[in-house]
Amino acid sequence: MDVAAALAGYGDRIRVALCDHLRPREPRRHLYDPAAEYAWRGGRMLRPSLCIAAARCFGASIEEAIHAAAGIELLHNAFLVHDDVEDESDERRGRPTLHAMHGIGLAVNAGDGLLLLGLEALLANRARLGPSLTLALLEDACRMARETVEGQALDLGWRRDNALSLQDDDYLRMVLKKTCWYTTIFPLRTGVLIGTRDPSRLDRMLSFGFFLGAAFQIRDDLLNLEGDPRRYGKEIAGDLWEGKRTLMLVHFLQRTTAAERARLRAFLDAPRAERSPDDVAWLRERMDTYGSLEHARAVAHALAGAAQHEFEREFRTVPDGPDKALLAAMPAWVLSRE
């Protein structure tokens, strides 16, 4: 299974749909052009592709899923814009972040605009899917959004309060809400809902989505530390600069000596601008010493294995086909991507 090719295939269809939702209109310069910026920077269209593949697994056509898929990508872009502001990130998809280009005010507003565009895209399903199913999709989108902001609150709260006594399960709980819901669980649920029209059994996607999403996030965080800057598209080690509570940091936190803890506390307490390259290098070196990256890699593998298991359980009665094959290949792909 060539996952990249399959994603590219769906990506083209989704981009066509996005053209409609992101068509140039006034005010262009201060709203719609910046709002469309991330979408046109490329990206794998992972989330909308999951949605389409799941929908097709359960008998829907690509047309029936395309608006929902576009909506998912737009909501994702909205979250990215806000995330970048909240995380004080400098780079996204190889270029400056939106707020770095246009200032925080316009960036936040463009993010809000993207949220609305995303909801509109979901609403556009009414014609084809009917109001009831559309309503169900919107309800689920609300739930996803709630889970996501709650997860983001956890993450930001830990940084703000400089939480140092975190455990692996704290991390997984945060990732479930902050990442998995909108990256994997919601796209899968949306697809299943469109395919089956049955809102009562969506939680079956929870396990697969959670393990897949968690493996994805850990892999993403690893890439942040050791990826190829040209291919990764975000600043390397940006997470260290931001003091982001990644699994690697949580692992290190559990093992620090008193002296290391003091230094780490001071580092994390300081505003980002005052953190020094020396400290970042030290942190990275400590993580290497304690095998934190090794640990995270191993955990990502384990979670991907669990995702595989859950997939086989939930999809065993779905007839074989390219979409099932794509979903089946996701856990391995998540680990191999660079």
């Binding site: 049955d198 009562s200 959670f210 593998h301 384990a302 294995g305 669990a306």
Partner: protein, 234 residues
Amino acid sequence: MSSSERITRPHPRRSEPIRTFRGTSSEPPAAAAAERPRASVGEAVAHAVDLGYRVLDEYLQQGQRAARGLGLGPDRAEAAVDDLQALATRMARYTSDFLGVWAQFVDVALSTGRLGGAKRNDAPPGPASAPAPTPARAAVAVRVRSPQAAEVAADLAADLAERPLTVQALRGADPTVPPITGVRFEPATAAQAARLHVVVPPEQAPGTYVGVVVDDETGRFAGTVTVTVVGTEG
């Protein structure tokens, strides 16, 4: 004496029984999933998978508690069910349940009037045509072409009779049975009432088929069409 010198208990992988559906299978997935990575990367990772399942279970339980708090009852709180196959067979029922909710939704949202049309074709196989039974509200005539006895019910919003409508494929309970696609809506004109043309193929399996009517221009829901194929001996 310090703990490093003492002999201590190993850390248990879990300390509660698995009472979930998952865990009661002969191959507990928590263990099964843990086994593969465990062999290669050791204890910590098996622990991670275990943690993953625990976080998930805890999360599901929270949801169920919340649902109970809202008075939804535990059966509304969605939970994983073993049998995906059952989904397919339940689809038709869900569709028709849905249509009911849908119609209410439309009522509330659009505040439109209603108009109904129904036709039971008990005649011997062959083309048939009759006006809707209640002339006062009748704006739809149903024409059925079916070699088998078939019952047709249409539920359409009144103010839509003159609009171009599309009837989507009518689907049955069994997903492997092809849907009825030969249903066409002919809008009312000054000269004649709206017409619904239903063509049931000779090989169509007996059963109830439900489809949605959509306004071509506005994309709004316009109603439903239900065809019950009774079978040739009827």
